[in-house]
Symmetry: C2
Subunit: 260 residues, 2 copies
DNA sequence: TATTAACTTTGATTCAGATCAATCAGAGCA
DNA sequence: TGCTCTGATTGATCTGAATCAAAGTTAATA
């Protein structure tokens, strides 16, 4: 009853690129925009990669604080993050705002806009970032030629739905400290999958942005950080986080009814 | 600043079948399982409908309280609801549970399972229901033959993501009464789109299930109902709901900082 | 039709997190 | 170097929703 929960079922995000590209070298029409980092080419052969490469040719930079896309604007392309860190957020006229996700290398942005062909959220860079633009109609066209690409794209969309359901569970039934623990473990895992330390990293977002994502006020986020630090589970120095005891952090997330 | 929010941007669900099937008569291998009600055939010609009909041939009934699918089981098919009412919920080992959605005629279930090919949530009928089973690999195959079907399917998936983001906004930033108002307006709209009254309907779910969906305890849901009734905005008789003043209900949802 | 079980409402009390407020730390800049 | 601005921390207080508890109501089943 009180055993720690398995990692995979509980984290907010699933990685969109668990099986990283196993192709050694790619010729693409855009030499600087290697497909290597992207989430899409998983399991494609060289010729297929070539076809995809012709579509994913346009690279774009977004400076810290800049918009990759804005809610209300016409949708034309998905964006695959090559480097950097972005947030997406939905905004109501009444000022209510909700950060719906934080996104890093290899992840795909813009999926929400396919339905209405209008972006439903803002995507804002939290550090200087680079993305590859993928014109969506072209992606659909080559999906017909490369069924494995289509299948993979469907999985990416589905994974986003699973991720959203996890966040709904978090927002609907977790306490502040549990939410923060989930959040940190999720970041930890995603950093580690990208070859960075799982226990030592810098946050790119403010306490307020974390709060918006987790359905908490910034003061509550700050207090939860301090609490975890007091218990020696993490060390916090402003945006720099060290996880000292990942198992106890998992316990925090796992089950509030456990006596701690 | 305090104007009521436009309906479309604020409701929890978008309908997956706004453009209802405009084809008059369909020959299908499953006469009793007309494609008419389904969300998929939008904009297809007769021949295409025929192809789709061969895929969507298997009909299934689920009695009230029964499972359509269970978390952890292998995914093979999507399910299009022909009639009835279901809930989906994610369940943690520690007993934490979250209703992730309520689903009615024309909606498509199972999208979350595409990513891992294992169902990540339970789908339980809240009243006797009928669904059409759509083997997913077959759907992907004919998507190649019928690009407009593929495009439509992508839109359906994307719409689910948009819906989930709305729920995240609700869970992350709304007060109890606002959440209930959103919920009722959403149901109202979906009933009305299906030809039922938008102001007079029966709930299929318990207060506890509503609470789970809205991130509230059942007592809080009950109190919120009573409060809206005291203000003459709705009339509640157990599961039977009448909306007396839809505009004031929208105000409730719109902006808590409005003086009411 | 009686009996039980499941669901709903309402009240009293408690508590987690919001709000209000003050201080502090770091970054950018004149 | 001091100044300003943004963001982070911490404390005090308040409040909305959770929790605990007791009826009351409806639906299910024998």
């Amino acid at each position: 009853m009180c055993k720690p929960l398995p990692l995979e079922n509980n984290l907010l995000h699933d990685s969109p690129q668990q099986n990283h590209l196993d192709v050694t070298h790619i010729k693409s029409s855009c030499a600087t925009c290697s497909l290597r980092e992207l989430c899409l080419p998983v399991g494609l052969n060289n010729q297929e990669i070539q076809i995809l490469g012709d579509v994913v040719s346009h690279k774009r930079k977004v400076r810290r604080g800049g918009y990759l896309h804005q809610s209300g604007l016409k949708f034309q392309s998905l964006f695959a993050i090559r480097s950097g860190f972005l947030k997406t957020c939905v905004l109501e006229e009444d000022g209510r705002q909700q950060v719906t996700g934080f996104h890093m290398t290899g992840e795909l942005l813009g999926l929400d806009a396919i339905s209405s062909e209008i972006h439903t959220c803002d995507a804002i860079a939290l550090e200087d970032s680079e993305v590859c633009e993928i014109p969506f109609t072209k992606l659909e066209e080559i999906s017909i030629i490369i069924p494995s690409l289509m299948r993979h794209f469907h999985k990416i969309m589905s994974r986003e739905i699973v991720r959203d359901h996890s966040v709904m569970l978090l927002l609907g039934s977790m306490k502040a400290e549990e939410r923060l623990a989930s959040f940190l473990l999720n970041l930890s895992r995603r950093f580690s999958m990208r070859g960075y330390s799982e226990s030592d990293f810098n946050l790119r977002m403010t306490r307020e942005e974390i709060g918006s994502y987790l359905g908490l006020k910034l003061e509550t986020v700050s207090r939860a950080f301090s609490k975890l630090q007091d218990e020696n589970i993490i060390t916090v120095d402003n945006k720099h986080i060290q996880i000292n005891d990942i198992n106890r952090l998992k316990m925090k997330m796992g089950n509030s009814s456990c006596i701690t």
